[in-house]
């Protein structure tokens, strides 16, 4: 079978939809036995099967149609109450679901033809279904016609003689009385139809003709009902009657046998602004003109009766469309409404598209900065104003876009319920997990990357943090250990805490071990923080088993690296005997930050704004590396020295007070250049080892500015101070 490209796309849609339908069908089948009032569910299952069958038919996938037909017949019997729900029936239908799934998968793999093995296994499944169908097992054709002809016996009679050779269209033609006087001959119009297709059947009605005396030989009294077999669409056929439409009643209906196809067509149409009329229009069942007339009638009726008549009913009244078609269209409309309601709650978006959007907004932010720079150079007030509003909009767009990526961390946390449950079984410890702040939102990319490190920390805390039950009893703690996962926002960061109520870290043992491993000099004076941080050192993890400490380092260097890659830091609090809390400080987003632009010599640097506490002028530069700020000592970090900038310092330097984890430091710079939005561009691998720089950004002027990594600088500073 050769399908053109368009058809292939439609086929892909078919497979996706069918797979989804089958999923629903399976879920419904499973639920079927436990539902009190199953008719709605049965209908849903039936519709699913029916839709698959119909769509498969459109693609000529005969084997799927054949298989589904039997399943559908069973479901139809179930729907009409000839069968009752039983576990045997469900057990028979479920494998059919699976089989359909594999059939569809074959189609996905490009195997459109039927496959002997599959057909055989399919037939076995169908054989299992036969007992349910015994009362009236119809051949597919008979069932099809039965369904098709059921609803309007009167009309079917006219075509009954010739059902097999069915046409596509049923035409009701009652031309106006005056048409003959107007020089138009209905017969010639009918004759014209033969050029559009073949007239399969035609019935002439003359009952409108009055008795001989009052009959006007120049008036038209004849009506025709025509079955036309034609490839032409409704518009084309209708246009044949353009000249004669006034005063005539012309109805062009898809023939009964075709209705299932039109129903499928309506179902397969997707339109997010679907008016019923438009749906019918699109599927070619009615034409624009008919729709307009119907709408007009709806309006006048509404006015007259003060109640809204439904467009579908009117169209049927006017014999423009047949009821089953309207029902299908209504159903579709309802579905669209329903799915719209669902979409309002959430939309699934390809993460790549979102990333692309964020990227573009990043570029937009940069371009805005460039435009701002140019705008500053003119004195055009209007331009300034216009630009100001652009900037505020861009900021909003940026925030919204970033918000799009924000997901509650709860879903990540709740994963650990299972982990904790499993591991505590494994370890023979009774540990409960307490989750706080699950609703705290964080960038999706952060969530993705935090999963593994967090798992490590959770495992470690359970394995090595929380003591065995006996030891806990000895220490007077409740037998059940507690593991806490906590999340909250703090100054532009998300903080994730992994806490346990275990034994805490043993400072002395870590110290001894570090000396032994040559990580620190014997006798070095280290703060608790520094000692705890040693557990993240690579190599520390290889330590052989020591109680209370062992394994704490297993993979901890990996954890540390992961967190650092996220521009985050780990902070450890530990109270011996009471527990350990690891705090992960992570940026909320990885893409864009608010920055504070400063200048040193020729170069510009960006300091993340959420780190900046205040700016003060450097009083008198007397080469000291600290100043007094409101009674506290504020150590300096001179960016000029740090980045080895040549040239003399500006006459009046400034100090930017930055804070991290309660530690303050002053960055000494030449110029303050104000706030800006910054798109973080990662530095190349070549600069991976550079300390104190978190990335780069492109300024409006096209210059590159480095983004200062404040936490690293402060830690380094502290380290330097201690070692001095």
């Amino acid at each position: 079978m050769n399908l053109d490209k368009e058809m292939m796309e439609a086929l892909t849609t078919f497979t996706i939809e069918s797979t989804e339908l089958l999923q629903d069908m399976e879920a419904d089948l499973l639920a079927l036995e436990n539902i009190e009032e199953p008719s709605e569910t049965i209908n849903a299952i039936f519709r699913a099967a029916h839709t698959i069958k119909g769509s498969a038919g459109l693609f000529g996938l005969e084997h799927i149609v054949r298989f589904t037909h039997v399943v559908e017949s069973v479901l139809d019997a179930l729907r009409s109450g000839k069968l009752t729900v039983s576990s045997e029936l469900v057990a028979g239908l479920l494998p059919c679901c699976d089989h359909l799934n594999s059939l569809i998968r074959d189609v996905v793999d490009g195997k459109l033809e039927e496959n002997q093995d599959m057909t055989e296994s399919g037939n076995r499944l169908l054989d299992a279904l036969r007992p349910f169908l015994k009362p009236d097992l119809k051949t597919p054709e008979a069932a099809e016609t039965g369904v098709a002809c059921r609803d309007d016996a009167a009309r079917v009679e006219t075509i009954a003689g010739d059902v097999i050779e069915s046409g596509n269209w049923l035409l009701f033609l009652q031309f106006s009385e005056n048409c003959l006087r107007d020089g138009m001959d209905p017969l010639s119009f009918i004759h014209y139809l033969t050029t559009l297709g073949e007239i399969v059947d035609l019935t002439t009605f003359s009952h409108a003709m009055p008795d001989a005396a009052s009959m006007d030989p120049e008036s038209n009294y004849l009506g025709f009902e025509i079955v036309l077999k034609s490839e032409a669409g409704k518009e084309t056929i209708e246009s044949a009657f353009d000249f004669i439409r006034d005063g005539s009643h012309i109805h062009i209906l898809p023939l009964e046998n075709r209705i299932p196809y039109y129903v499928e067509l309506i179902k397969s149409l997707t339109d997010d602004n679907a008016q019923l009329g438009e749906l019918l229009l699109k599927s070619g069942v009615i034409t624009q003109r008919e729709l307009e007339e119907g709408l007009k009638a709806q309006q006048t009726q509404t006015e007259a009766q003060q109640q809204s008549a439904r467009i579908g009913e009117i169209l049927v009244d006017q014999r423009v469309v047949q009821q089953p078609l309207v029902n299908a269209a209504l159903e579709k409309q309802q579905q669209l409404k329903d799915s719209k309601a669902r979409e309002n709650q959430s939309i699934r978006v390809d993460a790549e598209r979102l990333d692309k959007l964020i990227d573009l907004i990043g570029e937009l932010v940069i371009s805005t900065a460039a435009a701002k720079l140019r705008a500053m150079q003119t004195r055009d007030i209007a331009l300034h104003e216009a630009h100001a509003s652009v900037i505020s909009l861009v900021e909003e767009v940026r925030d919204c876009a970033l918000q799009l990526r924000m997901v509650p961390i709860g879903s990540t946390f709740s994963r650990y319920q299972r982990v904790v449950h499993d591991i505590s079984k494994e370890l023979g410890k009774d540990i409960k997990l307490v989750i706080n702040g699950a609703e705290t939102e964080v960038d999706k990319s952060v969530v993705e990357k935090i999963g593994d490190p967090l798992l490590h920390l959770v495992r470690n805390a359970m394995d090595h943090g929380i003591e065995a039950a006996e030891l806990r009893a000895e220490r007077g703690k409740p037998a059940q250990g507690t593991l806490r996962l906590n999340a909250y926002h703090s100054s532009g960061n998300i903080v994730i805490e992994v806490g346990d109520d275990g034994g805490g870290l043993d400072r002395d043992k870590i110290y001894a071990k570090a000396v032994e491993r040559g990580l620190i000099q014997p006798g070095a004076t280290l703060s608790d923080q520094d000692i705890y941080a040693l557990i993240f050192e690579p190599g520390f993890s290889t330590v052989e088993q020591i109680s209370n400490l062992s394994g704490r380092g297993v993979g901890m260097d990996v954890v540390k690296r992961n967190i650092t890659e996220l521009r985050g830091i780990i902070h450890i609090d530990s109270v011996p005997g009471c527990g350990t809390t690891l705090r992960l400080h992570l940026p909320l987003t990885l893409a864009i930050i608010d920055g504070f632009l400063v200048g040193v010599g020729e170069a510009s640097y960006v300091i993340p704004l959420d780190r900046v506490v205040e700016c003060v002028e450097l009083p008198v530069d007397d080469e000291r590396d600290y100043m007094e700020l409101r009674g506290e000592v504020l150590p300096f970090i001179r960016l000029r020295q740090l980045f080895r900038k040549n040239g003399s310092a500006a006459r009046r330097q400034n100090v930017i007070v930055v804070e991290h984890l309660g530690l303050k430091a002053g960055l000494v710079v030449d110029r303050l250049m104000g706030e800006l939005q910054t798109v973080i561009k990662p530095l190349g691998k070549l600069f991976g080892h550079v300390q104190g720089v978190g990335g780069s950004t492109i300024l409006g002027s096209g210059e590159v500015a480095l983004i200062i990594d404040v936490p690293t600088l402060i830690r380094q500073q502290e380290h330097d101070l201690v070692s001095v």
Binding site: L180, R181, D185, P186, L187, S188, I190, H191, T194, I199, D201, L202, T203, T204, S206, M209, D211, A212, M215, P217, E218, N220, Y221, L222, F224
Partner: protein, 100 residues
Amino acid sequence: MQTLTIEGELTVFTAAEQKTSLLAFLNTGDELEINLANVGEIDTAGLQLLILIKREAAQSGKTLRFVMHSKAVLDVLELTRLTSAFGDQVVLAHNEESPR
């Protein structure tokens, strides 16, 4: 048995007079025959007249047959599927097409 031969066209242009003559012919006897051999042209109006006269005859219990259909008449009866409804014997003056 009376026979009427319709001459010329059976169209909207002649319909008025044809109607008069046809109805008049209906009163000439109980067994009637209308020869259509010379009908060169027929349209909806003409067809209506044929239907009308057939109906009137049936209503008054008379027998009325159309005979010797011309090609034009046959084509129209064929198109409108009225051949069998009229129930007349169709003599194939032209053998190109066979009516059903």
